[in-house]
Symmetry: C3
């Protein structure tokens, strides 16, 4: 049993093992029932039906049982803390808790108290490790390596996706750049080579344009002239051309059509957005096996060298 | 793999095969696991817990896995279209998407883009094909034929049930009549022999009185004197007597007690309302098999002539 | 097939058989699939995600299928009664309906009409039998007997938990006391030896301090000086010392931290609160077997004498 709380604490070897395993699952028609008899609980304190379905499908693919705990909006106001709720659920003997929650660091806190594996499915502005893993898988599949130039575009400071992806890419010697409007990019960020407000500067020689979901409300509050944003930072058929022809477009979804990405690029040939979703299920299969420590997963370790060599 | 989008596109033979299969399932104590290893996703953009439970029970009866996608009220306002959501879910490798949605024609649109079977569980005011199939099964069980006189009563113009049922009955040479208050019946409707505001005119020699769910709010807006409706068009112990003694009462549910139907007829001996619900599960078992193209379903085709001969 | 509607109607022997079975399940690593092929529907008209998850886990542990019916807040306003909803669900051929509902006596009413087992998961202020059973299991495990002095503390008059627990303890010759603020304790209660507003009077020689969930809003309305309540009736590190050293603290959950129980006792050594949750799953496994009449359950009956002898 192991937790998957953040990318920070994963070794390069562990990441490679997970990606290798996920890619092998993608190549199979049928999956072994490595999680047969295991019980996975999805506890999404912050709603995200897409990620929840992805985890549930992953668990069922491998023969696990899935139970969903859907907190009533009312229940947590009733005086019980989220930790109390988790301690209670922990007593019901699940093998793995998959947790999405607004409070930064909550899954790591829970992991200290429970008897089972905790998988972080996104905590506040902190981390979203399975997103970073599926992003890495998508890049690796396309380019055969993670030594890439990746520009993350949008509202970086509020993004757990940006944080997890940067952590991961840093472990694989990628070059990460951040582009966003003033007030939405950090002043500095460990392992990031360039922080800028200019798409031109960031994209001219990248391999991956990684657009983040933008909350329009937030932009409207902070940006005097919202149209400026769209003119200068939206990824559309014009701005995508700043990037080299071989560069791909990625997005963690769900996207805002015609906010951070325009209609004409979302499902264009360069877009990997749907492939990311597909890979999400395979990555989560591997992550659930990693977390629940199935013996089959250990076997995969030997393969990882092949990936490390790329 | 086939879609089940509407009754319009089903041949008489296909309908017969589905009904035959559903009736055979009704006669069994245990069901074959014809959908073992299949994954069904229920995606009800418009909530309907009854129909969802019916589909889920049907899928589980045949050994399938079921995952439910419950859209947050917020998520679709976030800038993602319903098609984007379906394209995303499609990447998670389900074998069948069961979709209920407010937008007319949406399931048919989705079917063009996805890799798996789409079953329409009701789209706006367009169609509700599994409802029509279970209605047909109920009539066929009771009367041994679908060559019947059927009066559909209520708010016809807003009813996908009325549309699907009429389409189906037309294929089997039934006589369909429509009865409703002014503004709630169409001026004309293909294949309908009588459109009237009078229960007397419509019911005097029918086999089936099919009452539709009525939205009281809608009536109140459009009808100057709401009590007139209840006096003249509500199906109750008095008005049901206009129909011949052998006629049965049907309703797609959930009904409004003492709005379109009164307490004293809802579960009367003439009522087939609960039987319709029961048949719903069997019809949906057959429909899921039809959609996912299980080979066992092909075998049933040979039986269909027996039904056609009735 | 049997219903489990309330403690009142269970014989001492039946309770013993359920507890014996639950305790045996607690001692096992793997469970027999005694409910394989059975379908359990959870229908929680009043939301309670914790109890729902406990029932779902219990059913899955024994190999049953689980379907959840989640009533839309809107649907029941639409003119359908809760009985109509249950009659509809009953037609979908479930083996057991697990029902939580606000209306007192509703599960017992439903049981008259349906073809399958009904398990009451809490009805209004009436009964919550599986809570009482898991409480009894927890006491029995700790003390080896149910001949105990138990003080129930808090808002007794609105509590189905207090009612069910008192019923159960009375069958086993326990001594039950009730403590609460004025207006929140009944004037008399069958089988209760003491009704008081004083913790001192009630706790000085008890074995179990059973704190109830308190709705602060209710207190505020009825109590002129709310701080008085906390000073005199809250279970905290000071007031728990009124009870003998061997006494344990219990609570049905979810608790209000620092309302009826304080932070410093909730997970103290004397607290059995999490153990109650753990036992809940095992009790519900036994209850589901009891309700669906699995033959394996009959076998357990022979063991019950051993418990009866304690």
């Amino acid at each position: 049993m192991r937790h998957l709380l953040d990318i920070k604490d994963l070794s390069r070897k562990e990441i490679e093992a997970i990606l290798e395993r996920a890619m092998r699952y993608k190549s199979l028609k049928n999956y072994p029932e490595t999680l047969r008899g295991k019980f996975v609980l999805t506890a999404f304190f912050e709603p995200s039906t897409r990620t929840k379905v992805s985890f549930q499908k992953a668990a069922l693919n491998l023969g696990a049982h899935v139970v969903d705990f859907a907190p009533e909006s009312s229940s947590l106001q009733k005086g019980e803390t989220d930790l109390d709720t988790i301690l209670t659920l922990n007593m019901m003997s699940f093998d793995c808790l998959v947790i999405r929650i607004r409070r930064n660091g909550a899954p790591a806190e829970f992991a200290k108290y429970v008897d089972c594996a905790v998988v972080n499915a996104g905590d506040g502005t902190n981390e979203h490790p399975t997103q970073a893993l599926l992003d890495a898988m998508t890049m690796l599949e396309h380019f055969g390596t993670l030594k890439l130039k990746v520009a993350i575009v949008g509202d970086i400071v509020h993004s757990r996706v940006a944080r997890s992806l940067t952590e991961l890419l840093n472990k694989f010697d990628a070059e990460v750049r951040m582009v966003g409007p003033e007030g939405f990019v950090p002043e500095s960020f460990e392992g990031v080579s360039l922080i800028t407000h200019s798409l031109e500067e960031a994209l001219h020689d990248v391999d991956v344009v990684y657009a983040l979901r933008i909350q329009k409300e937030r932009l409207e509050q902070s940006y005097s002239n919202i149209d400026d944003f769209f003119r200068t930072l939206q990824i559309n058929s014009r701005t995508i051309q700043i990037a080299p022809r071989h560069a791909v477009l990625m997005h963690p979804g769900p996207f805002n059509r015609n906010v951070e990405v325009s209609d004409d690029v979302v499902y264009s040939e360069r877009s990997k957005i749907l492939e990311q979703v597909k890979n999400g299920v395979f990555v989560r299969m591997a992550v659930l096996e990693y977390a629940m420590g199935v013996t089959e997963f250990e076997g995969v370790r030997s393969v990882e060298t092949s990936l490390a060599r790329r």
